[in-house]
Symmetry: D2
Subunit: 224 residues, 4 copies
């Protein structure tokens, strides 16, 4: 069974969804002609993003109603702090970026906007609001990588960004994203109802728009 | 039209609801034979309670989705800080209690338990959770006063607590409580759904139980 | 006595402070040659900003330690919801903008970034953090208007933005801003210490940068 | 070097500190004559307490300023959810209590009061406030077990509660508690100052009082 709520949110977001998942940044990354400056800008800001992503899942631990919910949120905090940030730092080292450099970089306005929007929704709303604000990121990345790997225009050999695509198209990440989408249904059953759909759809759409702005911030690096 | 959600929550709370609204403290207050020490203990702790009640509605301003929601919450903060606390202080002066005395009194465990439970629910959940945690207080006091004023056992003349009953049985408070109950329906339509009812009912029941404990704390003063 | 902490924060912000208070948007507004499209863009986003500004002060009510602190925060919530938003709506009507239009406009990324940054700092930190994140706005606007009214290059007659300058240079707003700056010292005495200064200075600087981005967002309207 | 701030807080708490760390519940547990009903009541409520303890450290992840702070909080969430709750459940099984039984038990008012007080302080204040509200629990348990194991009146052989004392007097827990006390100094250097000491001392004292009430709740089980 596909994740029902996630599908409805994507449908309700209309063209905003593809403006994010098929953003020029992504298409050029897949074709291998994304300017290196754009990718490096993205990598640095994504490091700063991950710190707030971990904070958001820490908040989800606080906002849990059940031990199972707490454990799911805690697993994501642990994966982010103990694994992902480490992998990201190692990957960035291959691009000549040290962790100290990235930590010293000011946050781009686009990074501030998306991360703090998520945290505010998470605090003002309940855990369902929080998870829906995070869904364009978690579930969206899986769709982005899957679509691009299925696209004949994607450059497989000699693409400097191939490792990035492989990571998010890989089984491990795809399965994590599927679980995150399914969890929305579980929460919607327990905390939702049709009355919430319009507000949740608006939230999902804004978060998707802010994610598209995040790609654009990467692209803009090339113009400076 | 009666407030639909509030009625369901009361029904779901079972005997817990009357253990609060028909608590011995309330019945004796109405009959006029509540020990003065019990009432004074209640008055002091109710002063401390009001400070956190104002904080809770400040939180509701933060948790608002619309300007109308913000204004409703702000009106309650204003009424509490600018009017109610003043009236309470004045009323307590009649019982020989100064504001400085009350502010210096340590919070009873019962006061801590109910106020912080409300605030935590309000922060971990959404505004509907917050308002439901507050409903036993706001709407319950109106029901308590109305029931007692309709009870032939209530002592009308020479009851030292008559003014208290009159205040909560009065049109102004009854109307405020009715609005609060109606607001739950409006929020439930926008943020609710049947799936949320069991959790909301459990929340309402716990809050009612903590309110019953608050009365008991008053009564216990007499035993010390 | 000048507000001591505020002065230190401004000094520590270095050129970032004037990049905000003497932003091209402000200088052109004072000279009267700011493009109308830029000012209208600003007015609409400032309306959306005010909603979150009210939420931030609602949060400050929740975060208060004393009745006096609560009352100060509540007065600002009340002024914002009952007076300022009304004045803003009326003022915008003069520029041909209805409240419904403004409420329907999507938030600019710059609006999201500054408002949610403030709210997140306010929630993750304490009330001193919250007030310092808000200080560039509240106290900064007073300095901006005062400086511009003292500048011989400012166009006094026939400047379409004169009313805006008069409002923020006026006694009422200047006094409100002075109180806000003084309140930082009171809070710093009670909740601060030298150890906090570097983090508070970094917070103030980021908030000032996001305010500069807000002016830039107005200017950019003209380029589209 | 001993933990400086913790020592000051204990000194400022006066007799309240020992009313908690040398509560009759603890002394009788050490002598082995604590009624079994009291201990069982404590075990069940301590299970419910641990759920909110994990939530509090999830909140600390959200409230972190640095990656190191996040990792320390995350390690405690992980230890609580992945290890401690499991050990507690296993230990309780030895006393004939299943996890399902404990999860179904209503929270005692004392449990609500202490846990929600901590969470509210953590949300209204900053991370230093949060950690100080938790310190009587984390650091206090280490002091309690150490003192009792050094007390000649403590029954070592045939004491049904010996395992409990050993766990908290053991190197692993003692070291965890020492780290928690040291962390207060690190945070105080970065977020504190003398001005905060009176409020932090009041917070610590209230938390200690609520911990004493928690022991009393255990003892009271025997009276029912």
């Amino acid at each position: 069974m596909p994740a029902a709520l996630f599908g409805r949110l994507v449908a309700a977001a209309g063209p905003t969804w593809h403006s994010y998942t098929r953003h020029e940044f992504v298409l050029r990354l897949a074709r291998g002609d994304l300017p290196e400056a754009a990718f490096r800008r993205y990598l640095v800001q994504d490091y700063l993003f991950l710190l707030h992503f971990a904070r958001a899942w820490g908040l989800a631990v606080y906002k849990s109603d059940t031990l199972a919910e707490m454990r799911r949120a805690q697993a994501i905090v642990a994966a982010t702090l103990d694994v992902e940030i480490g992998l990201h730092v190692e990957y960035c080292r291959g691009w000549g970026l040290t962790e100290a450099q990235m930590a010293a970089e000011p946050e781009a306005m686009e990074t501030v906007a998306y991360t703090r929007f998520v945290l505010d929704r998470g605090l003002a709303g309940d855990r369902l609001d929080l998870e829906i604000a995070l869904a364009p990121c978690i579930v969206g990345y899986a769709e982005i990588a899957r679509e691009r790997m299925a696209d004949p225009d994607t450059k497989r050999d000699g693409n400097p960004y191939r490792e990035w695509l492989d990571m998010y198209a890989g089984d491990e990440y795809q399965s994590l994203a599927r679980d995150a989408a399914m969890a929305l249904d579980e929460q919607f059953a327990r905390r939702g109802g049709e009355g919430r759909v319009p507000a949740l759809a608006a939230l999902f759409k804004t978060a998707s728009r802010l994610e598209a702005d995040f790609w654009q911030m990467g692209l803009n690096a090339n113009r400076n």
